[in-house]
């Protein structure tokens, strides 16, 4: 967590752009939230596949060719969410060489206490230090 799902019609995002996009999303998410990059997930799916994702996907902007849906921990401020959306929108557009109006991004809050990653229930925003610490250090 977070999990960013990027969707476009089949073949519209070149394989060479996927790592660039994943790194841009990771960088922006970490800059905005100060969260560690360790658990920033970016997944790519063809538009035709999204019906198989169930509640993991919500239509961001039907008709928009490039869509990004981010499940992020609840507790982020509105300002942080706006910076995430605008930053990711711009970065994806830049990598793909399209206008930002062709990229739609939204986020949805997920309660940290509902999620386990790295063997621990994930912490609330701002309490990540113990989460990313090795077990031997956490016990001291």
């Amino acid at each position: 967590m977070p999990v960013y799902i990027c969707v476009a019609p089949s073949g519209r995002i070149p394989d060479t752009g996927k790592q660039q996009i994943s790194r841009s999303i990771t960088r922006i998410h970490c800059e905005v939230t100060k969260a560690p990059p360790t658990f920033v997930h970016t997944l790519f799916f063809d538009l035709e596949q999204v019906s198989s994702l169930g509640p993991l996907w919500k239509d961001v902007s039907p008709g928009c060719p490039y869509q990004v849906f981010g499940s992020i921990r609840s507790g982020r401020t509105d300002d942080q969410k706006e910076r995430l959306v605008s930053g990711i929108r711009g970065a994806v557009a830049e990598v793909l060489g399209v206008g930002a109006e062709h990229v739609a991004v939204t986020t949805e809050d997920v309660e940290a206490k509902w999620v386990m990653e790295g063997g621990h229930v994930i912490p609330e925003p701002g309490e990540e230090e113990a989460w990313t610490m090795p077990d031997w250090m956490r016990k001291q």
Binding site: K18, T26, H41, T42, P55, M116, E117
Partner: protein, 107 residues
Amino acid sequence: MMICYCLIQEGKISQEDMRRLEIGIENIVEKHLASGVTLSWVVIPEGNGWKAGEPSTTSLVLLTTPDIEQDARTDLLRAICDLWTEVTRCSVDEIMVSTPPLSSLVA
């Protein structure tokens, strides 16, 4: 009936282990939630799953639940993580489990 979506990276989990995981999740849901579960697999093709900007080996599991106390939810999360690491021999950093209450998913 609960629903469970298991997203796995292409080529990382064998068919045999997928079957073991299915049985394990069914048993965990029965034990922890006294419910059945409908399970769907989603395979993320190679080159389409990334973590921290690098190719990902992580599985992501989403299991809906009724409204339950946090202690019970933590036990459920732990049980699924333990199942996953035991069956697939992955590390705890290669499994993320989310258990949103069904009530949170209803618009």
